[in-house]
Each structure stands twice: as C-alpha cells, then as structure tokens.
C-alpha cells in the first residue's frame, strides 16, 4: 500500500471516529433517539476488509453497529446522520434509525438488530450472486457474540455445503453486550469454531489496518475465486459501552488501557509520521478538516432536513400498486 492510500485510509478512519463521537454528542443533546451503538476502536476492521474487497460492488450486510460500514460502502454521511436525526432525507427516510442504515444502491444491504440475523441473509445473497453469475461476493460483518446464535451454525453449514461466495467477518471485540467472551463462550478462539463446517478461517489483529488488509485479501481472493465461504476473525476492542445506555462498568481499567494503547488510528498515524510521510501538524490539519466537514456540512444538513410526513406513516409497509395483489391485472 502506498503512502497516499495509507493517508486516505487514515482520514477515513479518523472521519469514522469523529462522526461517531459527534453522534454521541447529538444523542446526549437528544437529537438522536433510540439505541445508539458506536464504532470507535474497531475502525480498522471494516476499513481494512473493504479495502481488500470492492465497496459499492460487493454486497455487505451487518448488525446494528452499522453507520461506518454503510459509509465505507459509499453511503453519504449526510444521509446517515440525517437518518439518525430521523429525517426524511435519511438513508432509510427516517424509518430505520441507527440500527437500520441501508444504502442498497451501493450494495450496503443493511444493519439488522437481531444478533446473528444477517448470517443467513448473507448466505442468501451469495446464493443469488451465484445464480446470476456475477463476480460480486457477499460480506457479513458481525460481532463475536453473534456466533452463539443458532443462525451461525445453521448458516455456516449451508454456506459450506453449497460453496456459497460469502465472507464472514467476525469483529471480536471481546464482549457480548456486557458479558466478556470467556464468561459466555466455551471456545474463545472464534476462528476455530468454524472447523465443524470444514470452512477455511483465519485470525488477524483487528487494530492494525495493514494486517487486516493482508488477511482480508487472502479471504476475499478465496471467496471471489469460487472456492466457497471463508471466515475471518479480527481481534478488536470497542472503546465505548455496548450502546449509549451502557455504563461500561464491567470492564477492567487495565484492559481498557491496554487496548487504548492499540488505537487503530494512532497506530497508522504514528507509522506514517515515523516513515516521514506526514507530520503531526499534517495530522492536526486533517483532523480539523474532518471536524469542519462534520460540523459545517453534515450536522446542518441533518438539522435542517424535514421530518417524514405524517400522512406517509403507512408508506413502505407493502409494495405499492402491485398488479398481482389483484390477481395479475395485466
């Protein structure tokens, strides 16, 4: 990866961090309602994997910690913020919210709030890709705790049996809501759990974006090459609680300090500075630029956008004017 790409990724990850931090503030200001699950700490996961894949082309699906996945696939951050602000200009027209960001045009097929729900949906998209003969792959990002759902086992079995072009990325942040992995899961090493399905897997450092990209390239090449599914585990950490209603009191300070010292953004920044590719001032300027974009463009757009119309409350429940509802009036 050349220096320009590294700097671009640094900016993207920094943008992701600042975007989420701004969401936190907006939530405290009650501009954002509902549940809010933030991504700080895990940025190298989606950025690294999607760098090895084809954003906007490959079909991506994930859980409820989904803002950054959508943006990395090509969603307009303004539309994502407007969705959080529950506006008609939001990515789901204010009907979805934080946990249900969609950008189907960019093949971001949504955030889903049932833990483990996307496993079979991703396999189904892979089945459709295979039938249609395209060169896309399906990529499913979920956390470690999703692997304790039945859908994990049911789907991995089918994906392997039918050699579906799907990549499962497990962002192992060590916690399922507030319960640490060693208190919920018999096998800690998630990449080993897929052995029962004869599926190739790997484990990589999810804090180091270059290592994520390296591991993801092997995974993506395997899947796109028609060799069936692949499972990639990324070891990562979220710097905030599970959601905004989480006091985060269950984690040891030493653990937080240890992972805080492995911040994916700081690691890449320092690497670029050490290599003489950027200065501390360059980084500060980048940060200012990102913050300005959020404050001067994204937030005002979300703030000033209209709310959905009351008379459209029932729109999108069912297809409009579907001829087959009337028995195929054609």
């Amino acid at each position: 990866m050349n220096a320009a790409d590294k700097k671009r990724l640094l900016r993207e990850m920094l943008f992701a961090r600042r975007f989420e931090e701004r969401c936190y503030e907006a939530y405290v200001e009650r501009k954002i309602g509902g549940f809010l699950h933030l991504y700080p700490g895990q940025e190298a996961c989606v950025h690294g994997v999607m760098e090895a894949a084809r954003p906007g082309h490959d079909y991506v699906i994930t859980g409820y910690r989904d803002h950054i996945h959508a943006i990395k696939c090509g969603a307009d951050p303004k539309a994502v913020m407007a969705e959080l602000f529950a506006k008609e200009t939001g990515s789901s027209k204010g009907r979805g919210g934080s946990m249900h960001i969609f950008d189907v045009e960019n093949h971001f097929m949504g955030g889903y709030a049932l833990v483990g729900g996307p496993f079979p949906l991703a396999a189904g998209m892979a089945k459709a890709i295979k039938m249609k003969g395209g060169d896309e792959i399906a990529i499913c990002f979920l956390g470690d705790a999703a692997n304790n759902q039945g859908t994990f086992h049911e789907t991995l079995n089918m994906a392997a049996l039918w050699k579906l072009p799907v990549l499962y990325v497990c962002e192992n942040n060590l916690y399922g809501i507030g319960t640490r992995i060693d208190r919920s899961t018999a096998v800690i090493d998630q990449s080993k759990r897929v052995c029962g399905y004869d599926m190739p897997s790997a484990q990589a450092d999810g804090q180091d974006i270059e290592k994520v990209m390296e591991a993801a390239k092997v995974a993506v090449d395997h899947v796109r090459g028609g060799n069936g599914p692949y499972f990639l585990e990324l070891l990562t950490y979220r710097y905030r609680g599970h959601s905004m209603s989480d006091s985060n009191a269950y984690r040891a300070k030493e653990e937080e300090k240890e992972w805080g010292g492995r911040d994916p953004i700081i690691m890449l920044r320092d690497r670029l500075i050490e290599a003489g590719e950027m200065t501390k001032d360059d980084y500060k300027a980048m940060d200012t630029e990102v913050l300005d974009e959020i404050e001067n463009e994204i937030i005002p757009f979300a703030e000033s956008s209209p709310e959905p119309k009351l008379e459209e409350l029932e729109k999108y429940v069912l297809a409009e004017n579907d001829p087959y509802v009337l028995g195929g009036a054609h």
């Binding site: 979805g96 949504g110 049932l114 189904g124 998209m125 089945k127 039945g150 789907t155």
Partner: protein, 326 residues
C-alpha cells in the same frame, strides 16, 4: 377445466413459475430428490436441478433467512416449511426481516419470498404437529397471509405470491392435499386480497377459511335442508389484510354472522372478524356474532379427545340453530 388434486395444483404452479423465471427457486426439507412430503414439488428436482429445487438441512430459521437474503437481489424463492409447527423456528427471519425490511429501509429493499406451510390438525399427530399458526402470521404488518380452501386457490395464490413483490405466507392444511377440485386449464393468478362467496345465501353469513370453508358448506346444506335457513358462506382466502369490505357487504346483507375457524378462539381470525363486524356494521346486525373455534388446549393424541378439541360442521349447525332459536 380439469379436476385435479390440491397437491397437483401446487405442483403445477411451482412448475410453471420455475419455467417462467430462471431466478425462481424452491427450497425446503425433502422437497427435491424426495419430491416433497406432500408432493408439491414432485419431479421438479429432476426437471430443474439441485441448484433450483433445493433440499435443505433441517434448519428452518437458517434456510428461511437464506431465502429472504436471496430475495433481496432478485431471486424469487418458494420456501416449504414441512409443518407449520416448525415455522415457529423461522418466525425470527419471517417477522423480523422479511416483513420489516421494506419499511425500515425506507422502501429501498424488499423481500419477495413465498413461504408455504401446512398447518391444522390431522390424525393423531400430537401437540407439536397440530398447530394452527395463521393467527400468529396475520398479525404481522408487512407480511401477506393467504390460505387456500381448494385446488384452484392453491394454484392461483401460489402463482400470484411468487410474482408479488411482498413476502407472502401461504397457510395450507395437512388434510387437504388430496382434495380434488377444478383448476382452469389456462394460466390463472388469484388475487392476494379479498374474499369469495362460496355459497350465496340470505339469512346468515358463515365466515370460513381453508378447511373451515368446507365445514361451513356442509353446515349450510344441513341448515337449508332441515331448518329452512339459507346460509351464505364467505371464504376468507386472505387473512392479511382481511377483506373488510367483503365482510361488511355480506353481514349487511344477511344481518347475522358466524365465524368458523379450526384454531383456538383467543386472538384469532374470529376475534378479528368480529371486531371488523363491530366497527363496520354493528347496526346492521340482528344478533350478536358468534365464533365456532377449537378448544383452547394443546391438541391431544387420543383420537376422541382430538376430535373434541376441534370444531366441525355439526358445531356450526348448532351455533346457527342457537342463534335462530331453532
């Protein structure tokens, strides 16, 4: 117009839709090589191959979710859930994903998936193979629910369900697959909304669906012959949405209503139809509407108890006689 069996009507609809669109697939337990427990896909594995007529593992939530995911990007899956009792396991993907994805994506995504499954009480299958789940599905916004009472509807409803862009649940019945009935020789798409008058009458409306339509028709014959009561039978082949206008029209004409269902009374089709009668035509009614339902128990294995747990045509006759004081 040929007379064919219910399963043959379903098989014909599968065959035509698989032939019509290469992105239509069928999937479920034993539906491929074995031809389907109820033969709805008999011979189609050989005709369309294992990529399109798919034997699944016994993973109901998993393969239903897989079908829904495939439907996101153009595939039109017809999922068979071997027994509706197993559909409880797939309820997560049906209710949380298929039914909601259009809404929560602001109209960007849709899940045009068909899920067929037989429910109902057959012969001594016990509590866990005798469920009637239509009451569960019909309460889910975003999910269409239809339930055929004859081969013509079975054929035409499946055809329309495959082509419709909404997710559709088709509630079939364990005991109806060998029922014979006329099906048009030409291609036929049955509406997914509305109701049908299965027997016109003027004194009382018997609302039924699926198997209970037949109990209503048998009861109507007895009522006409022995008690001089001319009953109209309305077939509610669509349970979500229910046909408010059709329910109102018939009840406003006969001024009396009985709702007949094989399921338990609480929170069911009968409750819903009675609420609609109340809202739409309370002052048109000459008597309080009545429900004929199953007893509120898990279905017993013992044959005598099983028979006593579910209603039949005699119960319908008795309910109408009581209403008329005859």
């Amino acid at each position: 117009m040929a007379e064919i069996m219910f399963w043959e009507a379903l098989r014909r609809a599968h065959d035509e839709e698989l032939a019509n669109d290469p992105l239509v697939i069928a999937m479920g337990e034993d539906i491929g090589m074995a031809g389907g427990t109820y033969k709805a896909t008999k011979g189609l594995y050989e005709k369309y191959g294992p990529e399109r007529v798919i034997d699944t593992p016994i993973s109901e939530n998993g393969f239903t979710g897989l079908a829904i995911g495939a439907s996101f990007i153009g595939v039109r899956p017809i999922v068979e859930i071997m027994s509706v009792n197993f559909a409880w396991l797939a309820l997560d993907q049906i209710a949380n994903t298929a039914a909601k994805v259009r809404y929560m994506s602001g109209g960007q995504l849709e899940a045009p998936v068909v899920i067929r499954s037989p429910g109902g009480t057959a012969h001594q299958l016990g509590s866990q193979h005798s469920a009637r789940m239509e009451k569960v599905f019909m309460g889910i916004a975003g999910l269409r629910v239809v339930t055929p009472s004859n081969p013509r509807q079975a054929y035409g409803l499946l055809k329309s369900a495959v082509r419709c862009n909404d997710p559709v649940f088709i509630n079939e019945h364990e005991l109806m697959y060998n029922m014979k009935g006329e099906v048009p020789d030409e291609e036929y798409f049955h509406p997914l909304e509305g109701s049908e008058v299965a027997r016109p009458g003027k004194d009382v409306t018997l609302f039924g669906y699926n198997v209970s339509v037949h109990w209503c028709l048998q009861a109507a014959e007895v009522l006409a012959r022995e008690y001089g009561i001319d009953a109209e039978v309305v077939d509610l082949f669509a349970l979500n949405p229910l046909d408010r206008a059709g329910i109102r029209a018939s009840a406003s004409k006969t001024h009396r209503a009985v709702v007949v269902e094989e399921a338990e009374a609480p929170v069911g089709v009968g409750s819903e139809v009675m609420a609609i009668l109340n809202e739409e035509c309370f002052f048109e009614l000459d008597a309080a509407p009545v429900r004929v339902t199953a007893r509120n128990v898990p279905i017993p294995y013992n044959h005598t108890l099983e028979k006593a747990a579910i209603p039949n045509a005699k119960d319908v006759v008795a309910a109408v006689r009581k209403m008329f004081g005859k």
